[in-house]
Structures are given as structure tokens and as C-alpha cells.
Assembly symmetry: C2
DNA sequence: TTATTCTCTATCAAATAAGTTGAGAATATG
DNA sequence: CATATTCTCAACTTATTTGATAGAGAATAA
């Protein structure tokens, strides 16, 4: 699962993408529109700023804006930046590769072999969709036993 | 990421699948072969037993064995059982659907729309691979900057 | 009846996640 | 320059989850 922080980060970036080219957006406004605790959002936006995805300016009429065009930021990038990896297990991560604790030998691990494939497919999908892409909204799910997985 | 417990569960099930039809396997042996803390494995195997994937017998020469043929157990099933869902966000889960805390309206949530697709693709892959399938092992990753994502 | 092996609930510690505090630094404006 | 505004950043708190263990109990075979 994506952490709450990662989800907030994604929504904040979508918010900025929607306003790309329109000058700085202020933290308090983003927080309100996106329903994110403002103080927590400072942590998230500062992190995104340090990573170079967002630029900022202090003082009156300051705020945040995307440092990169929305068309050049994929959802894959966002998730990698926020959670370190797209993979489901550490040993299947490309950029944050790490041996799984208490595992059998990597070369013998069937789980790993499988998770490498899952990671590749996920990356394929998430790297292809950019912050600029219109996303077709899905109908809300109400209650139990619905049509979505 | 999959929890350690889920990874242990997968390895334990692979272990049982390899011995399908050969009588009960004992917890201590599975634990040793798969490098899983034995006491923790009791929790995991009991859970799998309660879910009906595994059968067990107590007493001398007792142990665990698959209650279902390996060909009928997919990795998707295993992950759903152990972590509740294949989805990356609660609101994109089919069987464990739940509103994401602090989100915008589900019908307005682009993240959700996207994650529904990720979940579908992951499910497609993981539901097609069964415990009985031979999995081509991947070479171990040594150190930094490798070829895997 | 005894040794063996699974069952179950409770509990604990460590790690992670979520969110807050508060002091500080840059910027625009009057 | 003084002030209000807005971001910056490290430290901290709290809640939750995860990983693991303990220990009493119940079934089974010999």
C-alpha cells in the first residue's frame, strides 16, 4: 500500500499540475483544496522541493509551483521518490535494491523472480502516465461486493 | 511492499507445494528450510489453515499439507489472503474496499482511477501464476546500479 | 501414558507512519 | 526600515503496525 504521505504527495502534485504556468500556489490553499493537514503538507512539499520537482518562493505572494512540466513527471517517478521503490519486495527494487531479511538465496528465490516481473509491469504502466494526462475518473464505490477488484 | 509475514507465507506455501502429495511436512522442518522463525511460522500456518489453504494434523507424524492442489492456488490469492488486497490504496481494492482517509471524493480522485488500473494489471499477472508453475529464477543482484528496476 | 505436534490468545518490543511544534529565514510592500 | 507573509527545517510526539515470542492447551500415535 502507498502511505498516506505518498497519497498526499500525489494529490499535491496533481494540484500543482492543474495550475502549471499560473504562478505560485500557496500551501494553505493546496491543503484546503486537497484535504491535507497543512502542517504535514509543509513536510511533503519541502521534500518535493528538495527533490527538485517543485520550486518555491517565500514571502508575500510566494508559494509552490512545478519545477518541471507536468508532461515530464510520471506517477512512477512520484511513487519512487516518495516511497523509494515501485517494487513489492526490497530485493526486486531497481533503484533501492536491498536483500530481503531472512530470505533464501536471491538466486533461489521464486518470490523474487515473480516480483521482478510485477515490478516491471507496474513500472511500465506508471511511467507511461504523466501528471499532464487526463485521467478518466472511475465511478465511486459504494459499499460491499462491487465490480472493482 | 509485502510484509515480512506475507513473504514468509509465500515461501511456506511454495515449500508445501513442492511436497504436495507426499504427506505432512512439519513446522520445524519448513521453518528450517525456508529460514523462518519457527514460532512466527506457527502463527502464519495457523492462519493459512483457518483460511482453508492448508490442512494439518497434530501429534506424532502430524504436520501441514496443502488442502488444495498447487495448480489451484495463485500468488494473487496468497497475497490477498495475507494482506487483504492487491491494491496500492484501500479505495482501489476489490475485496477489501475502504474509503481512503482524508481523500477527496472518490468520484473525483484521479489517484484512485489510476490505482484501479494498476490493481487490475497486477491481478491479471498474479492470478495467472499458480503455486504449481515453475518459475524461472532470476540471477542474484550484486550491489549497486544493476539491470533490474 | 507419554512424546509429539499443532492451536490459540496474549503480550512485547521495535519500527514506521502520521502529524505537530516552534524557531528561523526570505520576500514584498508601504 | 518595519511588518506581514510565506516557506524551511529539525526535533518531537503519538499512534499504529509489524515482527516475534510465551505459554497453556488439545489432538494424535505409539
Amino acid at each position: 500500500m502507498l502511505s498516506q504521505k505518498t497519497r498526499y504527495a500525489i494529490r499535491a502534485m496533481q494540484d500543482l499540475a492543474d495550475r502549471y504556468g499560473q504562478g505560485p500556489a500557496q500551501l494553505a490553499d493546496i491543503a484546503e483544496r486537497q484535504n491535507i493537514p497543512p502542517k504535514f503538507l509543509t513536510v511533503i512539499l519541502s521534500e518535493l522541493t528538495r527533490f527538485g520537482l517543485v520550486d518555491s518562493q517565500r514571502g508575500r505572494d510566494g508559494g509552490y509551483w512545478l519545477a518541471i512540466a507536468p508532461v515530464d513527471i510520471s506517477y512512477g517517478d512520484l511513487i519512487r521518490i516518495m516511497r523509494g521503490s515501485l517494487a513489492l519486495v526490497p530485493c526486486a527494487s531497481r533503484f533501492a535494491h536491498e536483500k530481503c531479511k531472512n530470505c533464501v538465496a536471491e538466486s533461489d528465490c521464486r518470490t523474487r523472480a515473480l516480483m521482478l516481473e510485477v515490478r516491471d509491469r507496474t513500472a511500465e504502466l506508471l511511467d507511461a502516465i504523466k501528471l499532464s494526462d487526463p485521467i478518466e475518473l472511475a465511478p465511486a464505490d459504494l459499499g460491499e461486493g462491487e465490480t472493482t477488484e
